[in-house]
């Protein structure tokens, strides 16, 4: 049975946190699950995550998204972006509450494979997204940086990372 082992968590307070990095991620699991419950300081601020200090000034990150706003559904490929986005294209949307983004990163330490993931993001006022991601690196993931194009994370935002493995 796969188990969720909490590796680290943080809760944002105040208005000065623009970035959070989980470093020293244990290599003792098979998969990682990153649970973000967040809100950027402005709805135009695109959140994203990066790995192992790769800042995305290349073509390493891409996301395929299926996005619905309740009226239309569109599928898009996003490349040459700074990291993995929960809602590429339309922005994060307006919400008065924290929004969930759950990212499943399979085989995060297997150096024979490019890093890939599936995720789900929900803003019940604006969008619901199903996404797949790739980071074109075979490096084991040892750190995850959560940031946004500008602004800060609002108070109450939480980021939690879990390790999964067979028990």
């Amino acid at each position: 049975m796969a188990t969720y082992i909490q590796l680290a968590t943080t809760t944002v307070s105040g208005t000065s946190t623009t970035t959070h990095t989980f470093s020293g991620i244990s290599q003792g699991y098979t998969d990682l699950v990153l649970v973000c419950h967040f809100k950027p300081s402005a709805n135009t601020n695109q959140p994203y995550i990066q790995f192992n200090s790769d800042t995305g000034s290349n073509t390493n990150y891409s996301t395929l998204s299926l996005t619905s706003n309740g009226t239309t559904t569109v599928s898009k490929v996003h490349t040459n972006i700074y990291g993995w986005y929960p809602s590429p294209g339309p922005g994060i949307g307006t919400a008065s509450y924290l929004m969930p983004w759950v990212v499943h990163i399979n085989n995060y330490k297997n150096t024979n494979l490019i890093r890939t993931a599936m995720s789900r993001f929900g803003n019940a006022n604006s969008f619901t997204n199903v996404l797949t991601h790739s980071w074109r690196s075979t490096d084991a993931i040892t750190s995850i940086k959560l940031t946004q194009e500008s602004g800060y994370w609002v108070a109450g935002t939480t980021f939690t990372i879990y390790g999964l493995r067979a028990s």
């Binding site: 188990t3 969720y4 919400a95 924290l98 929004m99 993001f121 929900g122």
Partner: protein, 172 residues
């Protein structure tokens, strides 16, 4: 701690729930997130019904946006029915056909509005057009209370069929 089963409920053979469906109460407040897994079916006539999901057994007020795919067409809707959280099979389908349902609620103990994600799969035995893979983003805006209970039910008050079951896991 890790992922731990903290509650389960099911309908025994021969039993069909009333409109209240399956309820889990007394959820411990010692975890970070909740993962709810369910296997549901309704005696409603026809091929399909919506799943209703009520936090703290409160049926108002919710908002959601959903994506639904039946293998050929992708649809979407918003606030079609209060508490709408996915689809399940109804009586016109093969008797042993139940849906596969998952709801993830982060930060269920905090004092903010509860937002969550649900996925469900209901493959019809009759028509591919009645099959549905669904994902919704939901928010519960009635109050900001911690989640201490929930109810899964027919969104149209048609009840649930025998063997319908739900499991809730605390994650930390």
């Amino acid at each position: 701690m890790a992922m731990k089963l903290i509650g389960t409920a099911s309908l025994p053979s021969g039993n069909t729930s009333g409109s209240t469906g399956l309820t889990i109460t007394g959820i411990p407040q010692t975890y970070k997130d909740l993962l709810i897994i369910a296997s549901l079916r309704t005696p409603r006539a026809g091929e399909q019904d919506g799943v209703g999901f009520a936090l703290n057994e409160n049926s108002s007020t919710y908002a959601y946006i959903g994506i639904h795919w039946n293998g050929g067409v992708t649809n979407q809707n918003t606030n079609y029915e209060s508490m709408w959280a996915g689809a399940m099979h109804a009586s016109a389908n093969a008797a042993s056909l139940y849906n596969n349902h998952e709801i993830y609620i982060p930060n269920y103990t905090n004092s903010l509005n509860k937002s969550y994600i649900q996925n469900s799969v209901a493959n019809s035995s009759i028509s591919s057009n009645a099959s549905q893979l669904s994902m919704t983003a939901n928010v519960y805006t009635t109050n900001t209370n911690a989640v201490t209970s929930f109810r899964l039910q027919s969104a149209t008050a048609n009840g649930l069929t025998q063997y319908s079951a739900v499991w809730v896991y605390g994650i930390n």
